[in-house]
């Protein structure tokens, strides 16, 4: 029971991501069909696209319904009581009522969406989906920070619902645009639909930015919270991903304008940028799900880090390296965690430099750089947790009860697998068409996941400072993934030019890791007691 309750946050975070993707498919589908596809038109060609969008809406409705339902079930499990009054308390609870409405709306969208697949002109199903989408946007606000807010809640509910609707209309709408592109529209259809889609996305982004800014004011409370709290840092991460999405949107806008002017059919680049927009959109939804379960910056009080403390995290590592010289890489001097980060950083810097040498045509053998990633994989899997086998006293099997150790071990195996794929692609043993996408796909996903990575239970400020360096690494990871994806998917000069972004991004990640530094622990790490006696003695001596 205790173990299951410990995993509750983990399940809630997954479910928040699932419901976010489902809601985006529903709301984005409605917005895209109503504006870009113009569902009122009665021709068979347009009906084909509406039907395809309706299919995605039905899937989104099912995903969202399952996610909301599972959230309610888990919460009831977590707060279960023994008295009969407990059951009525659940029915009276705000969360139960909000989620029940969301489940009903999602099921309605799933059913009506399925009917639209068969008959895209079914008026009643269209109205049901549109109403359901509006209820999901409004109902979602009642499960956000606004519900728990101690001040006046009505304005926050309204702003949250509009913010949610705009975000989902954009991100979900782009997913529906990709589906439209995959359906192979004729140049005439593309010319009719793309400019309207462009206007939908531009207006959604406008609303998103304005309402998001207004909404951030009460939750942050001060500029210092933007810099010195997890909530603020996550917000900065979300804004950076938003900037990336806007850059993609801006590139697409040029193509859309060209199509609207009748200067030719949509280019391949348009669809490829849209793919990356979907990828970045999912990453942004993951960050948004994290933000929803992070205490607002305004509530952190005295635990807000100052700007100089934040700057210190990024500069102290380099200062200590300059002062210590080679000892800056001595595990007994800098500690296990800092050593691990710095060693990984050195490997990444070497990989990035070799990748640059390969791209610049300086050394053909440099294409074997993914082999260094194999070394990194083994290092992460074996050395990340020195309290466990083969370095510590914790046995190999015994170590698999700790989620962090399991994560490191699996991550190590995964890095080795991805190294294999990338090396096989670069040495022409595998075709880059599919196998090559493993590396950018994992970079995108890994970057987004790193934003969620937190060190819980060691004090709010300490936790924030220690995870701070993860944020730029995550953003660079997402950037590297997007760049490599476009390099592979976009043939010609444009793809090659964009492919020049990921090696410097990799170099940036490596340099951040080489200069890694952690503030002194506020609470002793109990796992230190499980480290090998010799290591403990050396640490105590120093």
């Amino acid at each position: 029971m205790a173990a299951l309750l410990g995993l509750l946050d983990f399940f809630h975070a997954i479910l928040a991501s699932v419901t976010g993707i489902g809601a985006a498919l529903v709301i984005g589908g409605v917005a895209f069909a109503a504006t870009a596809l113009d569902v009122t038109r009665r021709d068979a060609e347009r009906g084909r696209f509406v039907s395809r969008s309706a299919q995605a809406v039905a899937i989104g409705g099912r995903l969202a319904a399952l996610g909301y339902l599972a959230h309610v079930a888990l919460t009831i499990f977590a707060v279960q009581g023994s008295s009969p009054a407990w059951v009525s308390a659940v029915f009276e609870a705000s969360f139960f009522r909000s989620y029940s409405v969301l489940v009903a709306a999602s099921v309605a969208c799933a059913v009506a969406g399925s009917r639209l697949v068969r008959n895209p002109r079914d008026r009643r199903a269209q109205v049901t989906v549109a109403t359901g989408a509006a209820v999901i946007a409004i109902g979602g606000a009642f499960t956000s920070h606004a519900a728990g807010w101690l001040g006046e809640r009505a304005p926050l509910y309204a702003l949250d619902a509009v913010h949610r609707a705009a975000a989902y209309a954009w991100l979900g709408g782009v997913a529906h645009l990709v589906l439209f592109g995959l359906a192979g529209p004729s140049p005439v259809e593309a010319k009719a639909v793309l400019p309207r889609a462009g206007r939908l996305f531009a207006s959604s982004v406008g609303v998103l930015v304005v309402v998001g800014t207004v909404l951030a004011i009460p939750y942050l409370g001060s500029w210092s919270a933007l810099v010195g709290t997890s909530y603020g840092a996550l917000l900065v991460g979300k804004l950076t991903m938003l900037a990336g999405l806007l850059a993609m949107a801006a590139m697409n806008h040029r193509s859309v304008s060209r199509v609207a002017r009748g200067d030719g059919p949509p280019t391949l680049a348009l669809w490829r940028f849209a793919e990356i927009e979907v990828g970045l959109g999912i990453a942004t939804l993951l960050v948004a799900a994290t933000l929803a379960s992070t205490p607002p910056g305004v509530d952190v009080g005295t635990e807000v880090a100052t700007a100089s403390e934040v700057a210190h995290v990024f500069t102290q590592g380099w200062r200590s390296l300059a002062a210590l010289g080679r000892s800056g890489f001595d595990i007994d001097v800098v500690g296990v965690s800092v050593f691990n980060h710095r060693f990984a950083g050195v490997l990444l810097v070497a990989m990035a430099l070799l990748a640059i040498a390969e791209r610049a045509g300086i050394a053909r053998w440099a294409r074997n750089w993914p082999l260094l990633m194999l070394v990194l994989g083994v290092f992460v899997g074996v050395h990340a947790d020195r309290q466990a086998w083969p370095f510590g006293r914790m046995g190999f099997v015994e170590s698999f009860v700790d989620p962090e150790i399991i994560q490191h071990r699996i991550a190590g195996v995964l890095v080795c697998a991805f190294a294999f794929f990338e090396w096989a692609v670069r040495t022409e043993r595998l075709s880059p068409a599919r196998a090559g996408l493993v590396f950018p796909g994992v970079s995108l996903l890994g970057g987004a996941l790193l934003v969620l990575h937190s060190h819980a239970g060691v004090g709010i400020k300490y936790e924030f400072l220690i995870q701070l360096t993860h944020l730029p690494i995550a953003i660079l990871g997402v950037l590297a993934g997007a760049s490599r994806w476009l390099e592979l998917r976009l043939p010609g000069r444009e793809g090659r030019a964009l492919g020049w972004i990921w090696p410097p991004a990799l170099l940036g990640i490596g340099l951040i890791l080489v200069g890694y530094w952690e503030p002194a622990r506020a609470v002793p790490d109990p796992r230190d007691a499980l480290r090998a006696p010799a290591v403990i003695e050396r640490t105590l001596d120093s």
């Binding site: 983990f10 707060v79 407990w86 969360f95 205490p295 595998l430 493993v438 996941l449 819980a456 239970g457």
Partner: protein, 132 residues
């Protein structure tokens, strides 16, 4: 080439399974709670002269009082004694009347549900020194 394809398939499938596992475990590490305990009476690690009349836990958000609870444990290994949580008088506070407490160490094991459906639990330790 055939063996390469076989290897690729095996590594590909294993990677997909592992990637999913990392996704799950990676998310599991994210344990930031939504509701935040901002004030407690008695305070964490407090050493009191006399038995406090009430337990007051103040959070940064509204809580569902009927689905929140607290139990008092004498010492580290005592039997948990459920406390009666007062009805919603203030939206952000869990208030429970404490029985007269003898000198010794106590642990309050609490659990609240914020109105947006996030469960948060924690422990609060305090000590009664007693007269003299």
């Amino acid at each position: 080439m055939g063996s390469w394809l076989g290897l690729r398939r095996i590594v590909g499938r294993a990677s997909a399974v592992l990637a999913f596992a990392v996704l799950l475990i990676g998310l599991a590490e994210h344990a930031a709670a939504h509701a935040l305990l901002v004030e407690a009476i008695p305070a964490e690690a407090a050493a009191l002269e006399t038995s406090p009349p009430q337990l007051v836990l103040r959070f940064n958000s509204r809580i569902e009082h009927k689905l929140s609870r607290a139990a008092l444990i004498f010492g580290e290994d005592g039997e948990p004694q459920p406390l009666t949580v007062e009805a919603a008088t203030t939206p952000d506070r869990l208030i429970a009347t404490l029985p007269p407490l003898a000198p010794g160490s106590y642990v309050v094991d609490w659990q609240v549900l914020s109105v947006d459906g996030h469960r948060v639990a924690g422990k609060l330790r305090f000590r009664i020194r007693g007269p003299g």
